[in-house]
Symmetry: C2
Subunit: 339 residues, 2 copies
């Protein structure tokens, strides 16, 4: 049997924002001839994540750049359509890294079987997947939260930030979230029950934002940074003795700023005076400890103790625009595309 495949090929490096013009949508037939241990999957939910935009840069960042002319790589949740593996059967739910295409043949070692009764399968792309791992190990390993610490999270209404904030509350921290706009800030205080929220859009100058953050925090023990840019410039002078700064993302700089870094006040003297630490962390460094994270976090998810907001976009065609929308700061929680 043949399947009508659709694939987004990454064909042009963006300079600023990413859009349809950097991709080519191609249709083709895919047969179901499988080698031993191969599995044919049909994607159902495709993940768009900020790191994708980093990998599109021409220069080396944490990886060689995403090659041009291949299907855009991405995390996917899908169903098994056909299997030549003893480990998977038709109808199984799996997560894979098969990218922006409807159908893919994968070696069974690339697949993780999902249990839809344990948690919604979409969580494999969010709270129980890469973003959850980033939040958990970034906070616990680099942030080292202690009860009573003041934890500040930028991008706090996002996929990673909203989890960091909740993990921080569970660790006994006083948590202040930074997000853009009153709706997100209401989400932080009303839904996530954080101790405070600062709307960076309400404070367009560095001085104003810093004053608001000083008033809301009284000083910062742990700063978990997803955004970089002016928000981070405003937080760093507020660090307290032996503060830990976790650099998880710099979304403010992803569309252009990575290649032509903008200027900001030098701040290393604050690191010196406070004997503070900055650490860059990536989810991939903790892949081998995924079980450890799931053991702790999965029961919380099952018991409904963790809020994991998902924002859905419908349609395979919408993938490039969905990726771009991450940089407009419009979405709450994890952005997913139903395909």
């Amino acid at each position: 049997m043949n399947y009508q495949n659709r694939q987004w090929f990454y064909v042009k490096r963006p300079e600023g924002r990413v859009g349809d013009e950097h991709y080519a949508l191609r249709e083709s037939e895919l047969d179901d001839n499988l080698s031993s241990n191969e599995v044919l999957i049909r994607a159902r939910i495709v993940s768009v994540d900020p790191y994708i935009r980093i990998q599109q840069h021409e220069r080396n960042t944490y990886d060689v750049p995403h090659p041009l002319g291949i299907v855009q790589r991405a995390g996917v949740v899908g169903e098994v359509v056909a299997s030549a593996s003893p480990l998977f059967k038709q109808g199984d739910w799996v997560s894979a890294y098969s990218g922006w295409q409807l159908y893919a043949k994968c070696h069974h070692s690339e697949l993780t079987k999902l249990n839809p009764d344990a948690a919604p399968v979409s969580t494999a792309l969010g709270v129980l997947g890469m973003p959850g791992r980033t939040a958990w190990f970034g906070l616990m390993e680099a942030g080292k939260p202690r009860p009573g610490d003041t934890l500040v999270v930028s991008g706090a209404a996002g996929a990673v930030g909203s989890l960091v904030a909740q993990f921080g509350k569970r660790a006994g921290c006083r948590v202040i979230g930074i997000a853009g706009g009153p709706d997100k800030c209401a989400f932080l205080t009303d839904t996530l029950k954080l101790d405070g929220a600062v709307d960076y859009r309400a404070h367009p100058t560095l001085e104003g934002l810093q004053s608001a953050l000083q008033a809301a925090t009284g000083g910062v023990d742990v700063y978990f940074d997803n955004v970089g840019g002016m928000v981070t410039d405003a937080v760093i002078p507020l660090i307290k003795r032996r503060a830990r700064i976790v650099i998880c993302g710099a979304i403010a700089q992803y569309d252009g700023g990575l290649d032509t870094p903008d200027l900001a006040p030098r701040f290393l003297q604050h690191m010196l005076f406070q004997r503070a630490t900055i650490q860059g962390i990536l989810a991939r460094d903790f892949v081998h400890r995924m079980d450890e994270m799931l053991q702790t976090v999965a029961p919380w998810v099952k018991n409904g103790e963790i809020v994991y907001q998902e924002t859905y976009v419908d349609g395979f065609d919408a993938l490039p625009q969905a990726l771009n929308s991450l940089f407009e700061g419009k979405n709450l929680g994890k952005l997913l595309v139903r395909v």
Copy 2:
């Protein structure tokens, strides 16, 4: 018996460079009436250190600001003139934190007895004192040098940097020093036997300096930073995977730049991509481990295995100007004032 004392009082906060106008030289008589366990010392060598300039700022840095109207605090090596302590007798050499004055009465708990046969007493203000402790623990604890690592040291001809560079060589690192001018660079390669030296004064632009550093290092595993400013801007983009950046000083910014920070390219994305760490360290955090450092380093000093360059200025009157000269980058190694 009375002693003719001379004291430099700190009376005015400098805006930029520090000089005589920020001090008042006062003469007075000091009697030799001592309370129980008190010791009268005559300073012989007075230390001038970059941290003194930090403490002169009006705002809190790592300490409350140095108060106005008191004798300038500083490390001192002196001789015991009279003693009411069972622990010290006339003629003993001691180190103290008695500041810029010829005579001082100290409680014996503030004094450390020095053995002139074990090492020159001046080393208590340098390699076997605060600068040595800074270099040793900063490199070992925060820098975590491994054999084969490329270690880059800024301010490498200075009191701390020249020790860091040598400790790094002993730890098996390839060490590249950054210093200002051909004489200092020759000192780094010829006397300290470093693997390379980069003269930052020969590269007045960020791009030029970065190219020179890239060529000399091929990438940086450990960066021990004493200077901050453009030198650091040039090094950070060259960090390798899991690099460690030790912020020990920011001398480029001490005269003015701490209060009105200048602008530099944002660099936190490099920390992210390389999963690197920045840590601020201060000598005071390792006071309780001084014995541990001396146990390792003192034998090296005794055996002549460590080069500790000293630059002497003569005369008590010269103290403010000697402090200022630290920021002109003219001195090799530890700057000391004979009084």
